[in-house]
Symmetry: C2
Subunit: 436 residues, 2 copies
């Protein structure tokens, strides 16, 4: 089957990430989608500029209009941002019968109703997973995963810049201005940060979440928006002392008289998982009447995290436009004739870190024996702790943390350790994963 041909508008951070991910994971994606997906044409403001991603095989054109009207292009990816020109191009693509994938939250929050009506009339899809929370599939979770529920409310950390600033203010006791300057230096905040720190970006995203949660039109103009610029280190400290953390939340709730739609700094109990989402990470907490609270967490921005959502939309559209309806999503995610025969590893070949606890007789030389046994097997020890023997006790606990090593070698070491005359009880072994 011939590849799905994509036209890309915009070759900035996310556009470049999209080209890179589609290329690097080309085979994996084709195994899932049932068809290759290739960027056939692209345009950008400054086509001559050198870019980190190679553009071989992509026809570069100066005019976006040539892409949205091109008969060979089936999906147009809009990543130029802004509202006016992006709106015109998306509407033109729809008029030409193209499916559209966009990451443009401002566009959807303000012109989504018109765009979706046009797409519906024209029989094309407009997919927008990348518009909220970057690579986290929150649009899919709400539109498809939680359809059984009457959704009661959504509370989200959906602006990484603000979450980074608030995390740093709390962690280091610094003032807003100092942290903002640092965030700008690190590239986490724009030179003109108002769009993020005033909560406007979060309000765009919240408008989208509210519409799909409650089945209402996009109503960005009715969103209440309050930023983080006036928060002081004192208030963050006081809140902390009372068991709360301050987060910029987008909250939308079904209240008796209507729908709440509001972005503002919010005290959240520190024991809640959402309160522990730190730095530039995003997380969205959704309360449904049947499922209760569910949460979705991940990177809300960045080239490849956002590209992950763009490409997921491309796969969705490709599966829909290509497969038999019954086999849109293959049962095992990959096409049945494209499964892999990669073997499952026996446990002896698994590599992980280990926690070992030994009961040892309180005699000199035990640690020397144990460390020698590990060294002989190339097991690298991260830390070793010997608990003081109590008054009159003959045995002590020794705790060892190892670096990553093969299970086969740990098993051999444990057998040797247990054979020592100074080790009277079985060694406790628990695996350890950093999960980073």
């Amino acid at each position: 089957m011939k590849p799905m041909r994509v036209g890309l508008l915009g070759l900035g951070t996310v556009g470049g990430g999209t080209v890179e991910v589609l290329r690097r994971n080309r085979e994996e994606i084709a195994r899932r989608a049932g068809r290759e997906i290739v960027v056939a044409m692209a345009t950008a403001r400054d086509l001559g500029k050198s870019r980190p991603v190679g553009l071989e095989g992509i026809e570069l054109v100066a005019e976006a209009e040539a892409i949205v009207a091109h008969p060979d292009i089936e999906i147009v990816v809009e990543l130029i941002g802004g509202e006016t020109r992006a709106r015109d191009l998306v509407m033109a693509a729809i008029a030409h019968g193209k499916h559209v994938v966009t990451a443009n939250k401002a566009l959807l929050a303000k012109h989504g109703n018109e765009i979706f009506a046009q797409a519906h009339a024209r029989g094309v899809m407009v997919a927008f997973e990348a518009a909220v929370a970057g690579g986290v599939p929150i649009i899919k979770a709400i539109r498809e995963g939680l359809t059984a529920n009457r959704i009661e409310w959504i509370a989200g950390i959906i602006n990484g810049t603000c979450n980074y600033i608030l995390s740093e203010m709390r962690d280091k006791g610094l003032s807003f201005d100092v942290v903002l300057a640092e965030a700008q230096r690190l590239g986490y905040a724009e030179a003109d940060p108002a769009f993020d720190i005033d909560g406007i970006d979060a309000a765009h995203k919240l408008t989208i979440l509210s519409a799909i949660a409650f089945g209402i039109p996009m109503q960005f103009d009715k969103a209440y928006t309050e930023g983080i610029g006036r928060l002081t280190a004192a208030d963050i400290r006081y809140a902390e002392g009372l068991g709360y953390r301050i987060k910029l939340l987008g909250i939308t709730r079904r209240a008796p008289g209507g729908i709440e739609l509001r972005v503002h700094p919010t005290l959240v109990p520190a024991r809640r998982l959402l309160a522990n989402v730190e730095g530039v990470m995003n997380a969205v907490l959704v309360k449904g009447d049947a499922v209760g609270n569910t949460m979705y967490y991940g990177r809300g921005a960045g080239a490849e995290a956002t590209a992950s959502a763009v490409v997921a939309d491309l796969v969705d559209v490709t599966r829909m436009a290509t497969a038999d309806p019954e086999h849109r999503v293959p049962h095992l995610a990959f096409q049945p004739d494209r499964l892999s025969d990669t073997p499952i590893l026996p446990m002896a070949d698994v590599e992980t870190a280990y926690y070992l606890r030994l009961r040892a007789l309180d005699r000199p030389g035990v640690l020397a024996d144990v460390t020698r046994i590990c060294a002989e097997r190339d097991i690298s020890i991260d830390a070793i702790f010997q608990k003081e023997a109590g008054e009159g006790e003959e045995q002590v606990d020794v705790v060892i943390l190892t670096h990553r090593t093969r299970e086969r070698d740990i098993d051999s070491a444990i057998a040797a350790i247990q054979a020592l005359p100074t080790i009277p009880a079985p060694v406790v072994r628990i695996r350890l994963e950093e999960l980073s």
Copy 2:
């Protein structure tokens, strides 16, 4: 359009929850699916038994075979559990051209390859969102939301019983046996708990996650499984002291020589979000090469949480079997002609809790004035803290936490407080949400 007719095998906890959710959210679900979804027929072992959920309008039959073969039934929901009879019924339903929705992880982990092959050949869908992590849409996230990624590993807390026991052991310093007995008393653990605490249930679920992450057949027989029964309070305490928590994790990883597939107690750094998933909750952490780490969190069991996933699958199948391909999932999650005109509430009508901070002159009577102003507006104060004035300071900080109240009333109270001669600076107001 006539309703989608569902045949339900099993009226236990999840079956009853499915009937209840479909009934309670009937209209909301129809607005999403484009068609009503009704349980038309059902069967259970003891049909005469009294049940918490009403079965009006459902044709009850003694033989499941009558449902899987019935010409009016389009989707069969298998919730009887077990492997032998469930397998026969699912295969029979597929042979009769019915779509199948199942929550049966043991069935899929052991017979999934055969079942999916048959479904593919027969052109029907077998949906199984409820089989892993209850109401958390993790199957959808991996099969559809993360399709751009080469998945590197998955680590999941996917057995609520074990997570409850480990949370309690850590929290209260109790032994495994004591906590298990308490869990059995509370209904969090079965009378015969082996299936959960030995890690077998988690291994069934992990087998499914591994297959859809890496595109490999189900290989439950190759999973390594180690339970929590031998963990001691001492090891949990030692781990805690070193900055780790012990969780029963299902881990599947793409390693150089093959795929790791293993369930065992694992030390996890306490600062990781996953380490802070407590009690019966589930969470699955997925590392993709493009998106990085994403996490999915929620209730892994219970009548309505699991029913949430079953019904989401019913909506998925209904949308697929009913809609134009381009409009399988409506842009705003609800059918365009079924949007709601519920208004967005003005901020003055929003109800939430508040943190207020006042700078006050250090004079008697200030607190009396402030509390009177709140009382006059029916604002209920949760707590009030006055910070000691430092040596020579004329002003003190007063922090007030209110119960939930209307923003209009808080605004009025703030205006009155700021008019007091003892309050020289603007009142700081930050909203507070418990998010429970």
